[in-house]
C-alpha cells in the first residue's frame, strides 16, 4: 500500500510539471521620427546613403518598450531587445544589433540602406513605399502602427541649366542678373521640398538658397530663382567660379552622391561676376555658326552640343583678337578631342576623324577682347 501511494505520488509529480510562460507589459507605438527630419511624423526615410556603417536612424516613440536582461544567473548577463518588423512592399525584420534603447518610451533603430551595412554585412535598399511598423517585446506582446514609416528613394540630378540667355553657357549663373536655374532629375517631392545648395571646390557649402527661392515643379523638376547678388562678390569671378549644385531632401539623402554624374551642365555650374556679352548662334545639323562682337576683357566658357553626321568637319575662323585668348575645342560623339585652336588664327582648318553624332563645341574666353566668328561644317 505505501509503495502504491509512493508511485501514485511520483506520477502526480511528473504530470504536474508544465512548460514555462512569460508575461509582461504590452508596448504602445504612437509614431516614428527620423532623426534627420524630426518635425515630420510619421517618419520618412531614404533607402540610400546615411551613415556608412549603420544607415539612417529613426526613433520609435511609444511606451512600455521592455528589453529583457537574460542569463542573469550566468557569468554575464545578456540583453534581448524588442523585435522591430517592417511590413509593406516587403517584409523586413530589423537586425537585433540595430535596435537600441534609451528609455521605455523611445527605441532608436538603425535602418540599413543600399550604401550601408547596419546590423549585417550586406547593404540593403528597402523597396520604396509605405510600411506598417510593429514592435514585439521579448515577452511576446506587440504593438503595430499602420503606415508608420515611408521609404523613399534618394534624389538624383540629371542636369542643371541656367535660363538666362546672356549667360556664357547654359551651366552658368550671372551674379549681376536675376535668373532661374532648372534642375532635372528624380526623387523630388513638393510635400517635402529639398534644400538647394552650392558647394565650393572643397565640398563646403558656399550658399544655401532660402526655401522661398526654390520650388518643386514635379517629381523630376526643381526650379530656383536667384536674384542679382545671390552670391557674395567674393564668391563669383570674371572667369566663373565653379560650384556643385546639391539638392538635399529633408530625410537626409542628397544629390550628387557617390557615383552620381558631375560636370558642367550636370551638377556643376560656374558663377560669373557679370555677363555682358552674348554670342549669336546658329546651331543646325551639320552646320554651326558662332559670332560675337565688341567683347571687352570678357571671360566665359561656352558649351554647345552640335549634331554632325560626318566623321570630320571643316572649321572656318575669321576673328580679330585684340587681347586675351579665346580657345575653340571640339570633341566628337565619343568625347575624343578632334580639334583645338585659338580663334586668333584665321583660316580654314580640318578636324581629325571622329565619331559622328553629338559633337561638343567649347569656347573658353579669358580676358578676351575683339570680334570673333567661326563656322563648322560637316566634312566627308
Amino acid at each position: 500500500m505505501p509503495l502504491r501511494l509512493l508511485l501514485a505520488g511520483a506520477a502526480a509529480f511528473a504530470m504536474a510539471a508544465c512548460s514555462r510562460h512569460i508575461d509582461g507589459p504590452r508596448p504602445a507605438l504612437t509614431t516614428t521620427v527620423n532623426e534627420a527630419d524630426p518635425l515630420r511624423t510619421p517618419a520618412t526615410v531614404c533607402n540610400a546613403q546615411g551613415d556608412p556603417a549603420q544607415g539612417w536612424i529613426i526613433h520609435l516613440i511609444g511606451d512600455r518598450f521592455s528589453p529583457l536582461p537574460t542569463g542573469t544567473l550566468g557569468k554575464s548577463a545578456g540583453l534581448l531587445m524588442p523585435f522591430v518588423m517592417l511590413s509593406g512592399p516587403e517584409q523586413f525584420q530589423v537586425p537585433d544589433a540595430a535596435v537600441f534603447f534609451l528609455d521605455k518610451t523611445r527605441l532608436p533603430v538603425f535602418l540599413p540602406t543600399r550604401d550601408s551595412s547596419a546590423g549585417g554585412p550586406a547593404p540593403r535598399a528597402l523597396i520604396p513605399g509605405s510600411y506598417d511598423v510593429s514592435v514585439t517585446n521579448p515577452n511576446g506582446r506587440s504593438a503595430q502602427l499602420a503606415a508608420g514609416l515611408a521609404v523613399v528613394p534618394p534624389p538624383t540630378i540629371k542636369s542643371v541649366q541656367g535660363q538666362f540667355l546672356a549667360a556664357p553657357s547654359s551651366a552658368a549663373v550671372c551674379n549681376d542678373q536675376a535668373q532661374a536655374l532648372v534642375v532635372t532629375g528624380s526623387g523630388f517631392r513638393a510635400s517635402a521640398p529639398p534644400t538647394f545648395s552650392f558647394l565650393d571646390a572643397g565640398g563646403s557649402v558656399a550658399l544655401t538658397l532660402p526655401p522661398a527661392w526654390v520650388s518643386v515643379d514635379s517629381a523630376t523638376v526643381i526650379s530656383a530663382s536667384l536674384p542679382p547678388g545671390a552670391f557674395a562678390p567674393a564668391q563669383a569671378s570674371g572667369t566663373g567660379t565653379q560650384y556643385t549644385a546639391q539638392v538635399t531632401n529633408p530625410e537626409g539623402c542628397k544629390a550628387p552622391y557617390g557615383t552620381d554624374p558631375r560636370g558642367l551642365g550636370v551638377t556643376d555650374v560656374k558663377v560669373f561676376t557679370q555677363c555682358r556679352f552674348q554670342p549669336e548662334i546658329r546651331n543646325n545639323p551639320d552646320s554651326f555658326e558662332f559670332q560675337v562682337t565688341g567683347v571687352q576683357n570678357g571671360s566665359a566658357t561656352f558649351l554647345y552640343t552640335w549634331q554632325n553626321s560626318g566623321p570630320r568637319a571643316t572649321v572656318d575662323q575669321s576673328s580679330s583678337l585684340a587681347g586675351g585668348s579665346v580657345t575653340l575645342t571640339i570633341k566628337d560623339a565619343a568625347g575624343n578631342l578632334v580639334y583645338s585652336n585659338s580663334l586668333g588664327q584665321n583660316g580654314t582648318f580640318l578636324t581629325a576623324v571622329g565619331s559622328p553624332g553629338a559633337w561638343t563645341i567649347q569656347l573658353d574666353f579669358v580676358n578676351a577682347s575683339g570680334t570673333f566668328n567661326f563656322r563648322a561644317q560637316k566634312s566627308g
Binding site: P2, L5, L6, G9, A10, F13, A14, A16, A17, C18, S19, R20, H21, I22, D23, G24, P25, I57, R64, F65, S66, P67, L68, P69, T70, G71, T72, L73, G74, A77, G78, L79, L80, M81, A97, V99, F100, F101, L102, D103, K104, P108, N137, P138, N139
Partner: protein, 205 residues
C-alpha cells in the same frame, strides 16, 4: 492558513501524544524555518516549510514517507552592459532586480535511526523528487516581466531530532537540484543548501 493549521496541531500535540504514549506516533508533522542559501548567483533568503510524514511499518517504522511544502524567494541584482543601451550622448540605465520565488512540493523517503547516538537523539536522512514552481520577476528599464514554470527536481536531506516535550526539535540541511531555464535567468540550478533549517516535529497517533 498553513500557519493556523500548524498552531492548532502544536496546541493539540500534548493530548494527542499522550494518547499514544506507549509508542512514538506514526504521523509526523513539522513546521520549519530556515535560511536558504542558493549555489547560484542568487542571494540568501529565509524559507518556510511544513512537512507531513508517515512512519511506515517497513524496517520497524524507521522508514518514513514525507511530503513537504517549501517556499522561498531569493533575489539577485546587477547591471547589463550593452552598446545598444546608448545612442548619441544618451545612455540607458542597465540595472536590474531579479526576484525568484519558488514553491516546492517535496516527496521524500526518510530513514530515521532512532536513538542511534544516544537516547533521545535521532539522526535521519532521505531523498526524493521535488516539484518546483518557479516564478521569476525581473524589473529593468522601468518595466517588469514575469516568467513562470514548474519543473521536476531532486532533493537530499539530512538532520537530527532531539526529543523535546511531546515531539522533537530538529535541525536539518537539504540540497535541492532544481533547474530553471527562464530567459531572464538562463539555464541555472537555483537549488542550494538549506543552512540552519530548524523546526519542531510532532509525532501523532
Amino acid at each position: 492558513m498553513k500557519t493556523a493549521f500548524a498552531i492548532v496541531l502544536f496546541l493539540a500535540a500534548p493530548a494527542l501524544a499522550q494518547a499514544g504514549a506507549s509508542r512514538p506516533g506514526r504521523l509526523l508533522v513539522a513546521p520549519k524555518l530556515g535560511l536558504f542559501e542558493p549555489t547560484s548567483r542568487l542571494g540568501g533568503a529565509f524559507y518556510a516549510g511544513l512537512e507531513v510524514g508517515y512512519a511506515a511499518p517497513l524496517l520497524e517504522h524507521a522508514l518514513a514517507v514525507v511530503l513537504e511544502f517549501d517556499w522561498y524567494r531569493p533575489k539577485a541584482s546587477g547591471a547589463v552592459a550593452d552598446p545598444r543601451l546608448s545612442s548619441g550622448a544618451q545612455a540607458a540605465d542597465g540595472s536590474y532586480q531579479l526576484g525568484l520565488a519558488e514553491f516546492g512540493v517535496l516527496l521524500s523517503a526518510v530513514y530515521r535511526a532512532e536513538d542511534l547516538v544516544m537516547p533521545g537523539l535521532t539522526p535521519y536522512g532521505g531523498l526524493g523528487p521535488g516539484l518546483y514552481s518557479h516564478r521569476a520577476a525581473i524589473t529593468a528599464f522601468g518595466t517588469t516581466n514575469i516568467e513562470t514554470e514548474t519543473k521536476l527536481g531532486l532533493q537530499l536531506l539530512g538532520g537530527i531530532d532531539w526529543n523535546l516535550g511531546p515531539g522533537a526539535a530538529f535541525a536539518e540541511v537539504r540540497y535541492h537540484f532544481a533547474r530553471v531555464d527562464f530567459l531572464s535567468t538562463g539555464n541555472a540550478n537555483t537549488g542550494g543548501f538549506l543552512a540552519l533549517g530548524v523546526g519542531y516535529r510532532l509525532r501523532l497517533f
